[in-house]
Every structure is written in structure tokens, then in C-alpha cells.
């Protein structure tokens, strides 16, 4: 058995160096050279200051902004330092209550809108950091945003439609709207 101790220890050491140190370092070196924006978090910079990442959602509750999906991160929503889903089961009364409260909040902010609420707008995402909402959830909010900003509803709708990302090659994933980018575009108008 003792003849096998040397290979065990030396191989573990060598592979730690190769797969644990060299491999991530080389990947980092190449990534930082050819994809620097992506490798560093796809940050959005406005007036020289980072205002967020196009991949990480932010909370919005002002009627003049499009709202993101509910987030279950703690101690506050969209805490990028502690990603988390709610892990509530559909049979849990706490989840049914939370969904009801979110529906009520959306209705309170937009009393004229009695349409059923798109499901993603009142359910917490898996990561708690979902940067997107469905096109249905964005269109649901157009009237409220236009009214709060006192701008033409058609213009807001066109802005939303311009921000819909389709499926990749028309096949993969789901259509979606990036909430942070949409709201920044609203502010820039």
C-alpha cells in the first residue's frame, strides 16, 4: 500500500495546481482579453458611474417605472450578495397570501386595470435577481407608467416593444424584457 501513497499525494498536488490554479488563471486571462465586459459582470455605465448590471435585476416600486418580478432575497429584495428563491411550495398558504398581496399592490397602483396579472409579475424568481419580465408583464404596466410620467401611452408601448428580446434564433428560451434597461431608456427619453 505504501507504494501508492506517493502517487496519491503527488497527483493530488499536481492536479490542484493544474485544474485549481492554472486552469482558472488561463481562462481568466483569455476572458479578460477577449470578453472584458462580460467577464466583469456586464455592467451598465451612465455618466461614468456604474448603475447596475444588465444581468442583475433591481427593485422598482415607483409607479413611473416598470416593476421587476418579486424577489425573495434577504434582508431586502434584489440583494445581489445573497441570491435566493422563495422555496415556497404551491400548497403553502404563505405563498398564496404573498401572491394575493402582490396582485393587490399592482391593482392599487393602477385601479383602472382589471385584467388578470401575468404570472411572472407576482411570483418570485429562482435567483431573486431575475433581470427580466415577460412581454405580457411589461405591457400590463404600460398604462400606469405612462400616466405617472404624464406621457403618451403609445410612446411607452413602442418603447416596450422595442425592448422585447425574442427567443434565440427564434427557438431557444422565452421572450422577455430587461427591466433595468427599459427603465433607463424611459429616463433617457
Amino acid at each position: 500500500m505504501s507504494t501508492h501513497i506517493r502517487p496519491a499525494l503527488v497527483l493530488l498536488l499536481l492536479f490542484t495546481v493544474v485544474t485549481g490554479v492554472a486552469y482558472p488563471l488561463v481562462v481568466t486571462g483569455i476572458a479578460q482579453t477577449i470578453f472584458p465586459r462580460q467577464a466583469n459582470g456586464s455592467l451598465i455605465v451612465k455618466d461614468g458611474k456604474p448603475v447596475g448590471s444588465s444581468l442583475i435585476g433591481q427593485p422598482f416600486d415607483d409607479p413611473g417605472y416598470f416593476w421587476s418580478r418579486p424577489s425573495a432575497t434577504s434582508p431586502f429584495a434584489y440583494n445581489a450578495g445573497a441570491s435566493s428563491g422563495s422555496n415556497l411550495s404551491p400548497t403553502n398558504p404563505a405563498l398564496l397570501k404573498a401572491v394575493q398581496e402582490r396582485v393587490d399592490a399592482l391593482r392599487a397602483a393602477d385601479p383602472g386595470n382589471t385584467a388578470p396579472v401575468p404570472v411572472d409579475l407576482v411570483t418570485a424568481s429562482g435567483s431573486g435577481l431575475d433581470p427580466h419580465i415577460s412581454p405580457a408583464a411589461a405591457l400590463y404596466q404600460v398604462d400606469r407608467v405612462a400616466r405617472a410620467r404624464k406621457v403618451d401611452e403609445g410612446a411607452v408601448r413602442r418603447l416596450v416593444e422595442a425592448h422585447i428580446e425574442g427567443r434565440w434564433l427564434g427557438v431557444l428560451g422565452e421572450p422577455r424584457v430587461n427591466v433595468l434597461e427599459l427603465n433607463l431608456a424611459l429616463d433617457a427619453r
Partner: protein, 577 residues
């Protein structure tokens, strides 16, 4: 199911199956020692490794030595991962200044990564330093995968050889797997992931001023980054599943786009599926590999369909005034715990793939699935992860079921069963029965202890029946080295860290050692020429038999437990409407 969902799932299966032959043939060349082009690039490096480690490549091992070296190497790995976590506070590459991980959590994580489970009781971004993520966790992602593949290759050799005393050299199998298969694939894949937005940096967390600051909570968003892509690549390819961030592949920095999702999904099942072809080549009859692959695919597609339908039809919030209908503008269905960019089809496809394999990474929260949608991943784990399965471990598990299947067929006609020309006798049956019985015992005993003790019940998040499902899922996941969770369960406690740590240890090595014992016994046997009484094992009949045995064993063992959990929960949900 929506048309778009069916299309995406079909595309996934087509691409996966199309890659089986090229990669499978390549891996067969690696293991059979036939020349291939990559050897010209890395051959010198491989020989240098052997020279430094004092490995004599010509020396083959019997099964006992093979098993002993495998255990020794894994034990050393566990110790290193444990030590790095305990000492990370005083070691470099720790820009967040994270302190030492607790002893029970360190034990759990060390075992978890060495056994290819990657159960995570901790939240990555708030617990592990960059050094720990790289030098401890990423390393074990490679080595635990290579260990599983080495054990499988030893078993395949045993079928192919006749009257042989040895089954290969563990050090050589481990090294060649890492150098020629896992490293090159991971390297290329990591760079593709970065192009999609997966982060890869050693810098500190990014800081951003949020667009709409709110009173109580947030004016500045601190966004953790890190060397993520390099870890995610091997986490998927090696069916490891341990994420850099707490929410794993639901996190936009681990899985930012539909394309990254598709490729990561492909990476989960790529090597396990391709190993079936490798198996066929190495035993000299590729039809044998295709037959096993066909059996796996039948089970996969069947259970996937059940889960997708359950989640798409999970109209759970209708009374609250919610629109669940799928349309061109939204995915609809049960979106709690799912990401917008993935919707229903990709979330459920992932949940099914990750539990078919011993991967355990998640891109949606299984705890928030509908009862039937959550039953499918749980049962796939309980079947022993033999549907594609973990790298190496999936196919060696499935080959144990094949041994049982030929035995059952042999009983029906009263003949000594054979598989691939090897007579299956009492010793093989004892060992393969052991392999098939150990994990259910661990799952059911573990879950019983969990629900009977205060420490176990304290972790439950969801009330009622679903709380039982959380505990059952945890022990299923740990014992079968999966690593996914009904993650509401608070498992970072001394009770769960210890109990699940032990389940992972036994679930891995108590299987691998009997498998190697069978390998030793099979290698010694002659190869019986096929006669008129031989059951052909490459036919649709045998595929059906194999599927039947897997489903039957899984159903007989787990239906009572499942009936107490997801099935009752489903009935309650219907009754409430």
C-alpha cells in the same frame, strides 16, 4: 405542453444524441490507449505527470488494489478540501475577507465535492473565498468526475477481457480522463460561457448605484463576481452541480442567456450519454451501447413529459386573479422559483436532466414545483441516477441493472444468465443486489430519522406534507450523490451536515467498491460464445426488459414514501379546487 417547448426539448435531444458517437469514440480511444490527435499535444505533459508521481504505467492492478488506490486518493481529497475551508480566513485570494467555514459544514462540503454530489449547505457567494472555490471545489469537480469514469472503465474492461487478473491502472485512468477529456472540454466551454455573460475575474465585487433608490433598503447594489465560468464549465461537464452562487444555475452570472442554458444542459448529459457508446466500442459491439442508451432515453422522455405537463398546467394562483395561460407574450404556468428567460420548458428540462444525471445543479427552485412536477426529479434521483446518470457512475449503475435484467430473464427460462458473454453467477448477483439495495436503505432510513427527530424537523420550511417531501428529497439527493434540493430545508445545521455527509459517503463508496468487485470477478471469467439459448442484449426486447427492471425496482422501493409526500400533496391540491 406548448409547441415552442416541444421544439426546444426535441432540439436538445437531437443535438445530444448526435454528439454521442463522436465523443464516445474519442473517449474509447483515450481509454483503450489507441493513438489520437490530442496525445500529440498533451502526451509529454501526461508522461511528466507519471514521472513526478512515480506511476508505472505498465503495471496493472487487480480490483482490490484499484479500489484501494481510488479510496486513498479520494480520502486525501476530502482532507485537503476540509483544511482549505477551515483555513481560508488566513489564506490569500479572499477579497471579501470571509472567515473559516464551520467544522460540520466543512465536513459536509468536503465529502460532498469528493463524492461528486455537490450538495451545498452553504451559500457560495457569502461563504467561500476564491481560493476555496478554485483550489478545493473546482479541483474536486475534476477529480470526482475522473474517479467515477475510472471505475466505469475498469468495469467495462472486465467485460471485454477474458481470464484476466487485472482491470487497469487507477492512476493512469484518472490522469487520462482529466488531461484528455475533462480539461480540454472545460477550457473551451468556459470561454463560450464567458461570451454569454458568465463572469470570470479575480476582482472584488462590483458596486453600482441603483436607478431607483428606496428608503429602507438599497441605494448601492454590491454585486459579487469571481472566477465563475471556469468552475461552471466543469460543474456541468463532470455532473458535479456545485454552483459558485447560492442559487446555482438560476443565477444570471452562472447562466445568463437561453443559449448558455442550452449548452449547460447539453454539458450535463453529454459525457454520461457518450460513455454508452464508449462502452459499446470497448466491448466490441456498439449495439450493446446503443441498447443501454435507448433504455435511458425512453425513461427520460417519459418522465420529462409528465413534469413539463404538470408545471405548464400548474395554474395555482387563479383565485388570486393571475393569468397562467401560455402565449406569445409569456411562458405562463407555475413561474414561482423560475426565471423569465427560461420559462417552463427549459426549467423542467433542466430539472429532469440534472436529476437523471447525478448533476444536481438547478436553474429553477424544485421546492416550488407543483407536487407532480417535483415528484419527477425526486423519483429520477431515487431510481439511482441510472438514466444517463453521473459521469461513470450512471453507466456502472445501469450495467448493474442490466445484470439484474439478464438474471430475471434467466429465471424465466431456467438458464444460467449471461451478459456480454460473461456468466452471471451467485457472486455477481450478490454484489449487484447490494449496489441496488444500499441507496434505498440510506434514503429511507435517513428520511425516517429526519422526520422522527427534532433536529431533523427543525429544518423544514414548508408546512404539512411538503415538509416531509423536503426531508425525503434531501436524503434521496445525498445518498444518490445528486446534490439538488428542495432548498427551503435549512440544511446547514450540525444534524443535516453530518447525516447527509454520511449518506453521501456511503452512497458513493459502498457502491463503487462492489462494482469493482464485480469487475474483478468478471475479468477472471472466460467469454462464452453466443449460442441459440443466449438472450441477445441489443434488441428492443432487452431494452424493454431493462426499462421494466429499473422502473419496477424504483417503484417497489419508493412508491410508499412518495405516496406520503408528493402524491398526497397532489391529491390535496386537486381537492382544494
Amino acid at each position: 405542453m406548448t409547441t415552442s417547448g416541444i421544439l426546444q426539448i426535441a432540439l436538445y435531444l437531437v443535438v445530444l444524441l448526435a454528439l454521442v458517437k463522436p465523443l464516445g469514440a474519442f473517449m474509447a480511444a483515450v481509454y483503450a490507449g489507441r493513438p489520437f490527435w490530442l496525445e500529440r499535444v498533451f502526451g509529454g505533459f501526461e508522461r511528466l505527470i507519471y514521472r513526478l508521481a512515480g506511476v508505472r504505467t505498465t503495471e496493472e492492478m487487480g480490483w482490490k488494489t484499484y479500489a484501494a488506490t481510488m479510496l486513498l486518493f479520494n480520502a486525501a481529497g476530502v482532507l485537503v478540501v476540509y483544511a482549505l475551508q477551515r483555513l481560508q480566513g488566513v489564506l490569500p485570494l479572499n477579497p471579501q475577507g470571509l472567515g473559516a467555514v464551520s467544522p460540520d459544514s466543512s465536513f459536509n462540503t468536503a465529502v460532498s465535492f469528493a463524492t461528486n454530489t455537490n450538495w451545498q449547505g452553504y451559500g457560495g457567494e457569502s461563504t467561500m473565498s476564491y481560493l476555496t472555490q478554485m483550489a478545493a471545489l473546482t479541483v474536486q469537480n475534476f477529480l470526482s468526475a475522473a474517479t467515477g469514469m475510472a471505475v466505469l472503465v475498469a468495469l467495462i474492461r472486465a467485460f471485454a477481457r477474458r481470464s484476466a487478473a487485472t482491470i487497469g491502472n487507477f492512476w493512469v485512468d484518472l490522469t487520462r480522463t482529466t488531461v484528455y477529456i475533462l480539461l480540454p472540454l472545460s477550457f473551451a466551454f468556459a470561454l463560450v460561457l464567458v461570451s454569454q455573460g458568465v463572469v470570470q475575474t479575480f476582482g472584488p465585487p462590483a458596486k453600482a448605484t441603483v436607478v431607483q433608490p428606496s428608503k429602507a433598503t438599497l441605494t448601492e447594489q454590491v454585486i459579487p463576481v469571481g472566477p465563475v465560468a471556469s468552475q461552471i464549465a466543469i460543474k456541468q461537464l463532470g455532473t458535479n452541480g456545485g454552483g459558485f452562487f447560492n442559487v446555482n444555475s438560476a443565477h444570471p452570472f452562472e447562466n445568463p442567456t437561453p443559449l448558455s442554458d442550452f449548452l449547460e444542459l447539453l454539458a450535463i448529459l453529454l459525457i454520461p450519454a457518450a460513455l454508452c457508446y464508449t462502452f459499446g466500442v470497448m466491448v466490441g459491439d456498439t449495439r450493446q451501447g446503443w441498447a443501454v442508451l435507448a433504455a435511458m432515453t425512453v425513461i427520460f422522455v417519459g418522465l420529462l413529459t409528465v413534469a413539463v405537463v404538470a408545471e405548464q398546467n400548474g395554474h395555482v394562483f387563479v383565485e388570486q386573479g393571475v393569468d397562467h395561460a401560455a402565449s406569445a407574450l409569456q411562458a405562463g404556468g407555475n413561474m414561482e422559483g423560475k426565471e423569465t428567460r427560461f420559462g417552463i420548458a427549459n426549467s423542467v428540462l433542466w430539472a429532469t436532466a440534472t436529476t437523471s444525471a447525478s448533476n444536481g445543479s438547478v436553474n429553477s427552485m424544485h421546492d416550488s414545483f407543483t407536487p407532480l412536477g417535483g415528484l419527477v426529479p425526486m423519483w429520477l434521483i431515487q431510481l439511482g441516477e441510472v438514466v444517463y446518470g453521473g459521469v461513470g457512475s450512471g453507466l456502472y449503475g445501469m450495467l448493474m441493472f442490466a445484470v439484474i435484467a439478464v438474471f430475471v430473464a434467466g429465471l424465466m427460462v431456467g438458464r444460467t444468465p449471461e451478459y456480454l458473454g460473461k456468466k452471471i453467477e451467485a457472486y455477481e448477483m450478490k454484489m449487484s443486489s447490494l449496489v441496488i439495495l444500499i441507496t434505498p436503505a440510506l434514503v429511507l432510513i435517513g428520511a425516517s430519522v429526519g422526520v422522527l427527530t427534532e433536529a431533523g424537523k427543525a429544518g423544514i420550511a414548508n408546512p404539512g406534507i411538503h415538509g416531509f417531501s423536503e426531508i425525503l428529497y434531501a436524503f434521496s439527493s445525498a445518498s444518490n450523490n445528486n446534490g439538488s434540493a428542495f432548498a427551503g430545508l435549512s440544511a446547514n445545521t450540525p444534524f443535516y451536515n453530518t447525516a447527509l455527509g454520511l449518506a453521501m459517503l456511503f452512497g458513493r463508496y459502498w457502491l463503487a467498491v462492489p462494482v469493482l468487485a464485480i469487475a474483478g470477478s468478471l475479468a477472471r471469467k472466460k467469454i462464452v460464445p453466443t449460442g441459440p439459448g443466449t438472450l441477445p442484449t441489443h434488441t428492443p426486447l432487452f431494452v424493454g426488459l431493462l426499462v421494466g427492471v429499473v422502473i419496477l425496482v424504483g417503484a417497489l422501493t419508493f412508491v410508499p414514501a412518495l405516496a406520503l409526500g408528493p402524491i398526497v400533496e397532489h391529491l390535496n391540491l386537486i381537492a382544494a379546487k
